[in-house]
Every structure is written in C-alpha cells, then in structure tokens.
C-alpha cells in the first residue's frame, strides 16, 4: 500500500499543532505556579463548590439520562408505533443543535413563566431554571442521545433465542428481563452513562443560560474558568482547567475500558 509516509506525517504534524502543543501549554503554564499557589487556587471555597455542582449535576443527569435512554432504546427496538422513524431521527437533535440554541430554549421553557417551568412550579412547587436543578435538566438533554445510541445497537443484535430459552426453562417475563436481558445490556448502559456523564461535566453552552450562575450554588466549572479568564486571572483558569483535563482523561480511560468490554461482549458467540 502506498502513502504511509505522507499520511502519517500529515496526521502527526496536524495533531501536534492543533491538539498536543496547545494542550501542553496548559500543563507548562500550571508548572509556573508553586504547589502552594496551585493548592490555594483549588481549595478556594468557590472552586470546590463549582466542582461539586458540576460533578453532582452531571452524575444525577447521567443517571436520569441512563434510565430515560434505556426506556427509549428499548421502545425503539422492540415496539412498533406510528411515527417511530421520526422519533428515532429526533433522538440525535442534541448532537446537532448548537449548544447556545439549546441553552436559550431550555431556559425559556423551564423559567418560572415558561411552558414547563410554570407547570412544574404549580404542580410540585419547585423552580427549575436558575437553580442547580436547571443544570441537571440541561445535562439530561445533552446526555440522552449518548445513552440511546449506545444501547440501541446492542439491543438490536440481542439474540432473542436467549429469551425463548429462559421461558422454556420456566422463567417468567420479569425473571427473563432481570436475569437474562438486563445483564447483557448492562455494559452498553454503563458506557452510555459514562459518555453522558463526561459530556455533562464539560458542557458549557446549554447549561449557562439556565443555570443562574450564582457562585457557590449554581456555578459550573467551565463558567468559572471563563470568569477567571475575563478577570485576567490566567493562573486560576489554568490550574482549574488542568484539573478538569486530568479528570476528563480519567473518564476517557474509563470509557475506553467500558467500550472494550462492550466490544468483547458483542464479539462473543
């Protein structure tokens, strides 16, 4: 096969210029800080609060998206209903819709005077927008397609003879679901959950309009980085950015492990 040298050379140079060198700037800039300075930035109460808000919201949102996504994937694969293809195509909307648009729309819908915001307010007495809850709603929106699109192909390939085998051995439908179907869909569900979580942690555009952005309460880490930059606090932005980057690397590693598990499982038999 021809073309290895030019292809790999271009790939590596482009990778270095666009991704690696700029990313290393983050690392080197952080090294200019003394450990004490670094520690002081990270242990600042506002910074800690923003990490708690971001990771807590992302965890909750990924869990909800995991459940919702499972139900949607299950329905789309198993049950025929009118308009199914349309709904199937719509699942990818959060991928395709620019996050700023998602942000202003979600804020409009969930604000106390918005269509759903008003309904939730009068039914449950809870305000969604401009609260940590708003962050969770935005992250569910953004995470949902990750879960659906990871579970869907696995359910499609699922060997229904296994369900028939369980029934022939005396299992009822519920036992079959719990003992046979669920364990086989679990790796995909966990992978989808992790992808949704990772996306939620880094999400900026769709969250900031609905979050309210109150320090200590509803301020997410990406926004805090933004704020520090606007105040020319480059050291602060860099230190927080590095921690976020390391955490997303760890998440990426975890997701790769999960996906490896998923691939092995799908390759079986």
């Amino acid at each position: 096969m021809p073309g290895f040298r030019p292809a790999i050379s271009f790939t590596l140079v482009y990778l270095a210029l666009i991704v690696l060198i700029p990313l290393s700037a983050l690392l080197l800039k952080t090294f200019q800080l003394s450990p004490e300075q670094f520690w002081a930035i990270l242990t600042n109460a506002r910074v800690i609060a923003s990490f708690r808000v971001t990771f807590g919201s992302a965890l909750l949102a990924a869990a909800v998206a995991g459940v919702f996504g499972f139900i949607i994937a299950w329905t789309l694969v198993r049950y025929p209903f009118p308009g199914k293809r349309l709904f199937d195509a719509l699942i990818d909307l959060p991928f395709a819709l620019p996050t700023a648009v998602a942000g202003i729309v979600l804020a409009t819908i969930y604000q106390p005077s918005g269509v759903i915001g008003k309904a939730i307010m009068s039914l449950l007495g809870v305000q969604v927008a401009y609260q940590p809850l708003g962050i969770v709603f935005a992250m569910i929106f953004i995470g949902l397609p990750f879960v659906v699109r990871t579970i869907e192909p696995v359910l499609q390939e699922f060997d229904t003879a296994m369900e028939e085998a369980a029934a022939s051995l005396g299992a009822n439908r519920w036992q079959t679901f719990i003992k046979v179907i669920l364990p086989n869909i679990l790796p995909a569900t966990l992978t989808g959950f992790a992808l949704a979580f990772a996306r939620g942690v880094g999400e900026y555009g769709s969250v900031i309009f609905i979050a309210g952005n109150m320090p200590y309460i509803s301020e997410i880490v990406p926004l805090l980085i933004m704020t520090k930059l606007e105040q020319y606090d480059y050291a602060g932005a860099t230190a927080i950015g590095l921690v976020m980057l390391v955490l997303s690397f760890i998440l990426l590693l975890l997701i790769n492990l999960l996906q490896g598990w998923l691939r092995r499982q799908r390759g079986q038999l």
Partner: protein
C-alpha cells in the same frame, strides 16, 4: 400418551407454514421431523414448545391440552439451533437457571441444585467445564451444555431444533450416536428437527416427513425407506432412479424385467434393486459410464441411450465382489434388470 397434535394450522402473512397437521407421537420415542427448508418443521416444533402460537388446532402433552399454556408451564426442554446459552453466565449458571427461577416453594436448596447440576454435567461428560463461560467452549461442548440445561428441569418432552446443524461434520457424527444412547438412557419423549435424511435415519426411532406444511409420511426409518408413501418421500429419502412410462421406451423397460404397474405411471427404483449382467440379446442394455467406491458397495453410473429425449443416467449399487465378477469396463454395454419398483402417479 406422548404428544398429540390436532388440526394444527399456522400462517405467516400469506405463507401457509402448516396446514391442518395431525400427529400422534407415542411416549418414549425419538422422533425426527424431516423435510426440506421451509417445510414447516421448525414452526411445528416451536408450536409444540409454545414458542409459537398456532392459528388453529390443539396441542396435547401427556394427555393434557396445553394449547393456551405459555411455554414456561409446559415442562418442555428446548435445545436451540445456535444453543442460545446465556453468555453472561458460567456453564454452571446456565444449567442451574431453570432450577433457580422456580417459585420459592418448589425451588431446591442451593446445595441440591449444585448436586443436580454436577450430575447433569457428568451425564453430558463435561464435568470439568462448570466454571467456564460459553464463549470458551467448542461448538460440540456448547451443544451438550445446552442439552444439559434443557434436561435440568426434568422435561416431559425434549425438543431439539437442528441439533447438529451448526457443527463440523466429524463432531456431528459422534454427537448423533451419543444422542441416541442418551435417549436410551433417559427414555424421555424427544423430537428433533433436521433437513438431513441420513441423520434422521441414523438417530430416530420414528421419522415424520414434512413438505409444504403437510405430513407426507410417518413411520420407522425402515418403513419410510422400504415403503415410501409417495414420490416425494421416495425421492427425499435415499437415492432413487425415476422411470416415467411416458418418457422411457416401454420396450426397454419390459426387457428390464420391470413388473407392469398395477397403478401409476412413474416407477421409482432404489439403486440396490438394479442388477447388472453381461449384455445378451433380449435384455435391456445400458452403457457403463463410471463407478465409485462407497466402502463395501460400488456405485455404478449407467447411460441409457435408448431413453427417448435425452441420455438418462441410471444409478445401481452392488457389493464390491459382485461388481468385480462382472468384469466390465467403461464404455461397454451391460444388461440391466430391475428387481423391484415403487409406482407413483
């Protein structure tokens, strides 16, 4: 009382899979449902199991009507074509599954389940595989584990869908014999689906031949081979030479010694019912084209040049010694004698 099927019909859209099937299978038999693909044999097996619901008709297992009973209440063991082993469970977990999903009152203790699973693993001679996962097993091992899993619930009927279909030819031969011996040992009424007539003949005590959703014939392997009920069965089981009175020279046929028909106008002649001799005047003659060794038998290919439209090939089979004694070479003429024929319309 084994299995009784009454008026079973099943359609898939416009396609008639089964048309008014009656079948009576005595207790303790090992039955082959035999037929070409698309004949409805797997559908019939799945209806007996309750994995498919018939459009009309009744299913009786051991004298009880189970037509409306779901599969889990029918006490059947089903072995799937591709085994359908639970891939997230060990071999032990797979075999124990049917015991563990029983209602609490009927459930055995874990210790009893353990004993039972190991007894089953011994039965299928795979005791050392208990902690493996299905992906770590060979095809033949998966097959036997699937069988052990089905037997764990002590089924009154064992149903196997193309049990050897996914296996290599050499493994298949071994497992066929093993299944027959296992059936002798357990004596549970068993039905297996196959499209391979050789497999049906070798394993089954009873064969049911299906075609286009109809039962063509039911009987013991020798019944079916020696007394085929119709042209389809005769052609499908074993090899057959077909002579059509309207297309073959009647003079030639008369010379071959073929008894004149009482009924019908198509003669089916098994290769071993064709006798060869040195060509003399007044005999039906053919040209020796080729021959092949089939172990103890020789298969001879003959060309009947006197057939009307095209040159027809006739197959004859005879013991080695007999063929040697004839001392004929390729291209020589031989006299053909037909000993016995089945006549069909």
């Amino acid at each position: 009382m084994g299995i009784i099927l009454n008026n079973i019909s099943k359609k898939f859209g416009d396609f008639t899979a089964l048309d008014n099937i009656h079948l009576d299978i005595p207790e303790g038999e090992l039955v082959a449902l035999l037929g070409p693909s698309g004949c409805g044999k797997t559908t019939l097996l799945r209806i007996i199991a309750g994995l498919e619901q018939p459009d009309a008709g009744q299913v009786f297992l051991k004298g009880n009507e189970v037509t409306e009973q779901p599969v889990k209440n029918r006490q059947i063991g089903f072995v799937f074509q591709h085994y359908a082993l639970f891939r997230h469970m060990t071999v032990f977990g797979n075999i124990a599954f049917g015991l563990r999903v029983k209602p609490r009152k009927q459930r055995l203790s874990e210790a009893e389940i353990k004993d039972k699973v190991h007894a089953l693993l011994k039965l299928v001679q795979l005791d050392w595989l208990a902690n493996r996962f299905p992906e770590q097993l060979s095809g033949g091992q998966r097959q036997r584990i699937a069988l052990a899993r089905a037997l764990a619930v002590e089924p009154s009927v064992l149903l196997l869908d193309e049990p050897f279909g996914a296996l290599d030819a050499s493994v298949r031969k071994d497992l066929r014999l093993w299944l027959r011996h296992l059936h002798h040992e357990l004596n549970v009424t068993s039905i297996f689906v196959t499209h391979d007539q050789e497999e049906a003949m070798e394993v089954a005590s009873q064969i049911v031949v299906l075609n286009h959703g109809h039962i063509e014939q039911q009987g013991s392997p020798s019944d079916i081979y020696d007394h085929p009920a119709n042209a389809f069965v005769s052609r499908f089981i074993g090899q057959t030479n077909v002579f059509d009175l309207e297309q073959t020279d009647t003079f030639w046929l008369k010379n071959s010694g073929l008894p004149t028909p009482q009924i019908g106008k198509v003669a089916h002649v098994r290769p071993h019912n064709i006798e060869l001799a040195k060509a003399t005047a007044g005999t039906a003659q053919a040209v020796l084209k080729d021959w092949q060794h089939l172990g103890a038998l020789i298969r001879v290919e003959l060309l009947n040049k006197e057939a009307d439209d095209e040159v027809a090939i006739i197959f004859a089979e005879m013991p080695n010694e007999q063929f040697k004694a004839l001392q004929i070479d390729k291209g020589e003429k031989v006299a053909v004698r037909i000993r016995h024929a089945h006549w069909f319309h």
